[in-house]
């Protein structure tokens, strides 16, 4: 069977110690037996490793940060589209999802397809809205409140018991054992990622995660549960293993079916010693460990592109349990000329 040729543009090429999902997504796409993918990388920084990984990324363009606004982003995409005829766009950062979702119609008119959650789905699963989300969909979530200042915290402190988890709106989370530590983490996260800050009840247990893909009609196209077996000092999984866990699968299917979730997602859960599952976060995109799902038999990046192209898909029915990943670092030798070209011309 002849493969379907498709041009896919995606971000998240920062394959560093806190990696974006770009490279793992690309690996899934490049291994597809159905798709013949030309990968167009979108990069924010000159030193994102993916720019120089030519066996995976065919061409990379520098793009403006989402915080620069819609127009600069769309202008750049328009230019790249003229050169490359982008057919599918996969934003891999939480921070750029809003911009791309808001621009979905414009992109569609340009002939660029996406497969993303709706704005409603995106907004209601925000960390700051988690208690309401849990109540609405019957999912256990830790108690949390949103604060914009430390005086806010002093006002609501009595509702919590230490330790608490201090979280940024998009990224970062720290466990604080007293008021001083809340203050330190509040300032640290606010300086880096802005306000508001979410204070979440600390649930003791083991963190487990699910990567999943919803078709937007309530069906779960694929889902693979995992436990991190090695966590870096930044709290990132540096190793993991797929699990056999029906309760995690049932919970994922329940959330996808009730919310009619469209696109990739990562569920972050805590399993307590009483075997209860608490949902601590929904990330509205495929995570950086998605290649583990590909290796376990569910090529979710390929499925996402096929859904974006309007294809009907049969859900995956199985995956290999006990499949492991171990990340490693690798010194890639790069050509100064390429760095120069990307730095000055914004493409390579």
């Amino acid at each position: 069977m002849e493969k379907i040729k498709v041009n896919v543009a995606l971000s998240g090429l920062n394959n560093i110690d806190n990696p974006g999902p770009g490279i793992p997504v690309i690996r899934g796409l490049k291994e597809s037996k159905i798709l013949d993918v030309r990968v167009i990388g979108l990069s924010y920084e000159n030193l994102e490793p993916g720019i120089y990984m030519h066996d995976l990324v065919d061409k990379t363009y520098k793009v403006p940060y989402p915080s620069d606004g819609f127009e600069p982003f769309l202008d750049r995409i328009r230019y790249i589209h003229e050169q490359e005829n982008i057919q599918v766009l996969i934003p891999n950062f939480d921070s750029e999802l809003f911009t791309v979702m808001k621009s979905e119609k414009i992109l569609q008119d340009m002939g660029i397809r996406t497969f993303l959650p709706t704005l409603k789905q995106f907004e209601e699963r925000h960390k700051s809205n988690l208690p309401e989300y849990g109540e609405k969909y019957g999912v256990k979530v830790p108690y949390s409140e949103t604060i914009t200042s430390l005086s806010d915290w002093r006002r609501i402190e009595s509702k919590f018991e230490y330790p608490v988890v201090v979280k940024g709106k998009f990224y970062d989370a720290h466990i604080a054992y007293d008021r001083d530590q809340v203050s330190i983490f509040f300032n640290k996260i606010a300086a880096k990622w802005g306000l508001p800050i979410v204070i979440q009840e600390f649930v003791r247990g083991t963190e487990v995660n699910v990567v999943a893909l919803g078709d937007g009609k309530g069906n779960t196209i694929g889902a693979v549960p995992m436990r991190k077996t090695y966590i870096t000092d930044k709290g990132k999984g540096w190793g993991g293993i797929t699990l056999q866990d029906q309760t995690m699968m049932d919970l994922t299917q329940k959330i996808i079916s009730q919310t009619q979730w469209r696109g990739g997602m990562e569920l972050e859960l805590i399993r307590t010693s009483k075997n209860e599952l608490f949902m601590i976060e929904i990330n509205p995109r495929l995570p950086a460990w998605v290649y583990l799902a590909v290796a376990a038999g569910q090529n979710l990046p390929e499925a996402l592109v096929l859904l974006a192209l309007g294809k009907e898909l049969k859900p995956f029915s199985q995956y290999e349990v006990g499949k492991m990943f171990i990340r490693y670092s690798y010194d890639m030798i790069c050509d100064m000329k390429e760095f120069e070209e990307f730095s000055t011309r914004g493409e390579v």
């Binding site: 077996t229 699990l243 056999q244 349990v321 006990g322």
Partner: protein, 85 residues
């Protein structure tokens, strides 16, 4: 009757993998033999008989070691919660 959790896989090398939690452990040969006997549904009298046929061990010492070992299996969450001996 003690029951090893259904999600547990045990290989010939003594490698134990819990597919439900992702945990893994290594057993020595004796531990492997005993876990296999428990998995086969043998109770304590049957296990002590089998072990005594093969090894020189008095009943009292074996009983102490056996229950120590079972307590460790329990602590590591490898035994079904409703399993009793």
């Amino acid at each position: 009757m003690l029951k090893i959790k259904s999600t547990i896989a045990i290989s010939d090398s003594g490698f134990v993998f819990d597919a439900g939690t992702g945990d893994s452990f290594s057993l020595n040969n004796t531990g492997l033999e005993i876990v296999r006997l428990i998995k086969e549904g043998k109770d304590f009298p049957e296990i002590i008989q089998k072990v005594s046929e093969k090894y020189e061990v008095d009943e009292e010492s074996f009983e102490r070691y056996y229950y120590d070992f079972v307590a460790t299996l329990n602590q590591l969450n490898l035994i079904e919660k409703d399993g009793e001996d």
